[in-house]
Every structure is written in structure tokens, then in C-alpha cells.
């Protein structure tokens, strides 16, 4: 089996990754990665990162991508969810199991931020906190998010969560904030240091390799070749948002 992760790693390193150091508060300096508008400007406009999810390879009973995302970004711990309704819990990535109404065929796949080319969440955000990096990654600048939740209204994929409670034990690489909105950032900090997103990594390790990560603008990248070879769909394609996340064998 070809190691797609390795190929994409080289992809990224070739691109010249952008890393920034930011002072969050006096005396607290974190390595922050494309998390604010200023830092995002360092992302490579020559790339457009995307995912191709092969539902036929995704195991219904496997939740490794979700777990990996939780560990990587520090959301969804038991302590965090103990005092809130399930509907109020963060959900950066979720697994769905679908049954074709006509044929009865059952498939499963992860759903996360679809990193639209024309993101409604970015259009509606009053302050510009909801933003798109030059490399196509859509994320929230938590420094200027005022917590109005209009982006959550506008997202067709339910990909965003609002932090409903005070947080403890945050990850240094993924600062979160009570009263602000958050979502999958395609593991921008990992991408900027030449690694692949945590969910992609976990899926590889689980032996499924259902999520292919890569540069949609590079015609020779594995993801571009796969998209050229096999039929794929975008969720809510009718909206014309051109998501960076696509699905095959759904």
C-alpha cells in the first residue's frame, strides 16, 4: 500500500510551512499557527488543502478520527461535557451512519467543517473572525470572535460549535475560548509544521485510510488524481459553495 500520509507530508514541506509565534497575554507566549488573520496571511496561496473521504473504507463502528481530533484539539473531554446538555457539547468532527432510502445500502463517514471555497460563515461574520486562509482553510480567529453565532446559523453542515462553558486544561497548540465559536481548522497547526491532520493520521493508523488529505490545486497530488479518477460528491452541492472536503462511495 502506498503511504499517502508520507506523500502528503513531503507535499507540505515542499510548500514551505508557515509558523508563527504569538503572545496571547503578558508572559504567556504560545506557538500559534495561522490562528489569526495576521498569521493566516503567511499561509501558501498556491495551495488549497482538502480531504477526500471514501465512505466504503470508513468502518461504521470506528470512531478513531473523532477521538484523535478531541485529543489533538482538546475538546469533548468527559469533564468538559459533564455539566452541559449533549446539544451544547463541542462537535468539531462527528461520525454519521447513512442508509440510502431507495436501496437500503448503509455507509458511514465523518463530517467536519467542509472548508468551502465560498464559505457562508465567513460572509456573515460581522467582525471577520470567521475567516479563510489563502490556502483554503476556514477557521475562527478567537481573538476577535464576539460570540454572536451568526456563522452557526449560516453553516449548512452544522460544523460549528459554541463554547458554552468555562474551559480548563486547554491544549497549547489549540487555544479555545468560552463564549466564542470553534470548528475544525483542518489541523492548521499540524499542516503548518509539515504534518497531516490528526483525523487523517488516526484513520491511517486504524488501517482504514478512508480520509485522503492533500493539495487540491496540485494536479499531481494523490487527492487530485483520485478526484480525477473516481466519482465524488460534495455535501449540499446545490449551494455552490465548492467545499474542500469531498466524499466518494457515499
Amino acid at each position: 500500500m502506498t503511504n499517502r500520509a508520507e506523500m502528503t507530508r513531503r507535499d507540505i514541506l515542499k510548500s514551505g510551512a508557515a509558523v508563527a509565534t504569538v503572545t496571547l497575554a503578558e508572559g504567556v507566549t504560545l506557538m500559534a499557527f495561522g490562528g489569526s488573520a495576521a498569521e493566516a496571511a503567511g499561509a501558501d496561496a498556491g495551495k488549497r488543502w482538502g480531504l477526500l473521504i471514501d465512505a466504503s473504507k470508513c468502518a461504521t463502528d470506528c470512531n478513531d478520527c473523532v477521538t484523535a481530533c478531541k485529543v489533538e484539539n482538546g475538546w469533548g473531554s468527559e469533564a468538559e461535557n459533564a455539566h452541559i446538555d449533549p446539544e451544547q457539547a463541542a462537535q468539531w468532527i462527528r461520525k454519521v451512519t447513512l442508509k440510502d432510502k431507495e436501496t437500503g445500502r448503509v455507509t458511514s463517514a465523518p463530517v467536519m467543517c467542509q472548508h468551502c471555497e465560498e464559505p457562508p460563515c465567513v460572509d456573515v461574520c460581522p467582525t471577520g473572525a470567521s475567516m479563510q486562509r489563502p490556502d483554503g482553510i476556514v477557521l475562527v480567529d478567537k481573538h476577535i470572535c464576539i460570540g454572536c453565532r451568526y456563522c452557526m446559523m449560516a453553516c449548512p453542515y452544522k460544523a460549528r460549535s459554541f463554547v458554552h462553558e468555562p474551559l480548563t486544561d486547554q491544549k497549547a497548540n489549540s487555544p479555545r475560548g468560552q463564549g466564542t465559536v470553534e470548528s475544525c481548522n483542518l489541523c492548521a497547526p499540524r499542516i503548518d509544521t509539515g504534518r497531516i491532520p490528526a483525523c487523517v493520521d488516526a484513520c491511517e493508523k486504524a488501517g482504514h485510510s478512508a480520509i485522503l488529505f492533500g493539495d487540491l490545486k496540485d494536479p499531481d497530488s494523490p487527492i487530485s488524481k483520485a478526484l480525477k479518477t473516481y466519482p465524488s460528491v460534495a455535501l449540499r452541492d446545490d449551494l455552490g459553495l465548492n467545499p474542500g472536503v469531498r466524499y466518494t462511495n457515499l
Binding site: Q91, K95, V96, K99, C145, R149, Y150, K158, L239
Partner: protein, 399 residues
């Protein structure tokens, strides 16, 4: 045109005025407590969640903001459309418009996840966001209507200046309500929103809700100071309210008929009109019948002082129901992310999202209403905006 001879006097501080003031302050204080509680514990203590992201506070806020632009109607009818009978009420109409908007905006701001970052919303704009435009439309409205109010209060002023200020305020309020309606109309992702008719429908709603609130607030203040309001004037306002309420029903009917024609929207219409539970009940029972058909029947079939008052109360109640159905039902109805599939497992996929407002949200919403009313009352207490006499003989004398 002859100079306006109406005598305007500040509200006298009767015991009733004091009692009402204290009551409103109590509501405002309770809202303040609710806000501190919500900010400390996070929105976890509210009924709002990641599916119903805007809840009861937003219903109160949007009602007040919509009513604010409508409350200005009386002034517009007087200065822009030249109806002299409305002129004595024009000053207070302007003041009430500012007060209602302030109350509504206070709710929106205090419900933010980070209200401490309000300065960011005031200084960092994303001009592709209708929300950002609304920040400018709302602050601009306050400024323009304040200027309009001031020029109305000048003793000797060329009436053309008042008329020009009134025209700018009128056009601005049309833009403002278009912006408010477009918050929903431009959300393409949700089948319950995504309709251009939202903007004109919100304008019709503002005419209706704003006039109803104006009638009720004015009558209470007049009662507190034993100032007379004529029966004929109230019948006239009642008829106008009936026309506005009918206009709202018209837009509602066109919105739903258009949706029913499109196969892709039949499911959401079925939810709203037929089997949406509390939303269906609110729509037909409270919005359409109680808040629409009944007040229209009252003011046209049995025109009287009490009919106008009752119709105003019903329009307010129906208005709240309408905004609740628009805001909450539009989010409760599930997003169709996977057309053609049944979702066996997922995170609330394809099911109606439950929402039970918390007491904190109710306290915040009522506090916003109290703030608006307190500001209007305080304005009437310190400014000469309320006429001493709105009896029919007096109003008729103005032509």
C-alpha cells in the same frame, strides 16, 4: 403651514409614574443579574445550544428592533406624508423609536458570548456581513432620529428642515428593517429562512408592531398624567393598525404559498403549518388568528377606544409569536445535509431540535423591554415630547 400650537409638557412625577419606574428598574436589575449569571457560567445555563443558537433573547431583541423602526411611523406620517392629526404625537414617536432600539440592542449585545468585545464589533467590519451593516444602520438610526427629534422640538424652525429630517429618518428606517429581515432572508443554508420576502415582510411587521407598541405606551403615559386622548383619534389609529396587520398577513400568506409551490420546501412548510407542535400552534393560534384576524375584525367591525387597545395588545402578542416562529422554528427544523439518505446515527441529524428557554433568557428579554420602556418614560419625563391634550376637539382643531 401654520405653526404647531400643540402644548408639550414633561411627564409629571405622580405616584403612578414613580411606581412604574421602580417596577421597570426591578426588571432591568433582574436582567443584569441574569447576564452576570450567564457570563459566569457560560451559555450552558441557557436553553440555547449548538442547534438552536439564537433563542428567546433574540426573539425579544428582534421584536423590539422591528417595533422601533415602526414606532417612528407616526412621526413619518406627520412630517413626510403631511397628516396634521399625527403631528402632536410625532415627537414622542421619535423618542420611542430610539428607546425601543436601545432596548433591543442591549439584549443582543448582552447575549453575546463575549459582550466585553463589543468594541471589536464597533471597530472591525466585514462588509460582506449584513450583521456588520446592521451595526451601522442601528447606530445611524439612533443619530438620525435624535437629530429629527431635536429639529421637531425647535420652537422656530423652517418646517422644510423638519420635513427633510423626517424624510431621511423614514428612508433610513426602511433600510434598517430591510437589514433586519435580511439577517434571515440571506441565510441560504436553512429552508425556514432563505427568502427575499423576509425584508418587505419585516417592514410590514415593523409598521404593525411599532404602531401597536406606540399606542399602548402613549395611552399608559397619558393615563398616568390624566391627559385626554380622543375616541376618534384612537379609532383612526385602530384602523391604521388593522391595515398594517392585514399587510403582515398578506406577506405571510405569500411567503408560505411560494414555499408550498416548490417541492423542495414542502417538508419545511408541513413542519410549520401542520405538524410542528408548539410552532404550528403559535403560527395558527397566536400569530394568525389572535394576533392577525381578531385585531383586524375588532378595529373594522367594532371600532372603539377599547377595540383599538385590545387590538394593540393582540398585535404585540401575535408579533412575539411570529418572531418566535421565524427565529426558533427556522433553526429547530433540521438541515438536510444528506438528501436521499436516512441518518441512522449522527449528531441530531434530520430530527427537530428541542428548545426550552431558561428563566435567565426570559429575564434578559424582559429586562430589554423594561429598559426600552424606562428610557421612553424617562425621555418623556425630562423632554417636552408629550402633548398635554390629544382630545378629538383639540386634534381636529389642528386640521
Amino acid at each position: 403651514m401654520a405653526m404647531d400650537q400643540t402644548i408639550y409638557r414633561e411627564l409629571k412625577a405622580t405616584p403612578g409614574v414613580w411606581q412604574l419606574g421602580v417596577l421597570l428598574i426591578a426588571f432591568i436589575a433582574a436582567a443584569g443579574g441574569a447576564v452576570l449569571y450567564m457570563e459566569h457560567h457560560g451559555h450552558a445555563v441557557t436553553g440555547m445550544n449548538n442547534q438552536i443558537v439564537w433563542g428567546l433573547p433574540h426573539v425579544f431583541a428582534i421584536f423590539l428592533i422591528v417595533a422601533a423602526s415602526g414606532a417612528l411611523n407616526i412621526a413619518s406620517i406627520a412630517s413626510v406624508f403631511g397628516k396634521a392629526a399625527y403631528k402632536p404625537m410625532a415627537r414622542f414617536s421619535s423618542l420611542l423609536a430610539i428607546a425601543l432600539l436601545a432596548g433591543g440592542l442591549a439584549i443582543v449585545v448582552l447575549d453575546l458570548g463575549r459582550p466585553d468585545r463589543l468594541i471589536i464589533a464597533m471597530t472591525t467590519y466585514n462588509f460582506s456581513s449584513i450583521f456588520a451593516w446592521n451595526v451601522l444602520l442601528y447606530t445611524g438610526f439612533m443619530g438620525i432620529v435624535a437629530i429629527y427629534l431635536v429639529v421637531q422640538m425647535f420652537r422656530r424652525i423652517d418646517y422644510r428642515i423638519v420635513r427633510s429630517a423626517g424624510l431621511v429618518a423614514f428612508l433610513w428606517r426602511l433600510a434598517l428593517t430591510t437589514g433586519t429581515g435580511s439577517i434571515f432572508g440571506w441565510v441560504v443554508a436553512r429552508p425556514g429562512y432563505d427568502a427575499a420576502i423576509m425584508a418587505p415582510m419585516f417592514i410590514a411587521m415593523s409598521f404593525s408592531f411599532g404602531l401597536a407598541v406606540f399606542i399602548l405606551v402613549t395611552l399608559v403615559l397619558f393615563r398616568l398624567n390624566d391627559r385626554p386622548v380622543g375616541e376618534e383619534l384612537l379609532k383612526r389609529l385602530g384602523r391604521l393598525l388593522g391595515i398594517f396587520a392585514a399587510a403582515v398577513l398578506y406577506f405571510v400568506a405569500v411567503q408560505h404559498l411560494t414555499n408550498l409551490y416548490a417541492a423542495e420546501h414542502i417538508a419545511v412548510e408541513r413542519f410549520l403549518l401542520l405538524d410542528g407542535g408548539v410552532y404550528t400552534l403559535l403560527f395558527w393560534g397566536v400569530q394568525v388568528i389572535l394576533g392577525g384576524l381578531v385585531p383586524i375584525a375588532l378595529v373594522f367591525l367594532n371600532p372603539s377606544r377599547s377595540s383599538t387597545i385590545l387590538a394593540s395588545v393582540l398585535v404585540v402578542i401575535g408579533g412575539f409569536a411570529q418572531v418566535y416562529v421565524i427565529v426558533v422554528a427556522g433553526q429547530a427544523y433540521p438541515l438536510e445535509i444528506f438528501p436521499g439518505y436516512e441518518v441512522l446515527e449522527g449528531f441530531h441529524e434530520g430530527v427537530v431540535s428541542p428548545y426550552t428557554p431558561s428563566i435567565w433568557e426570559l429575564m434578559l428579554g424582559l429586562g430589554g423591554v423594561a429598559l426600552a420602556l424606562f428610557a421612553a418614560g424617562l425621555g418623556a419625563k425630562v423632554l417636552r415630547v408629550l402633548p398635554t391634550n390629544l382630545s378629538d376637539a383639540n386634534v381636529a382643531a389642528k386640521g
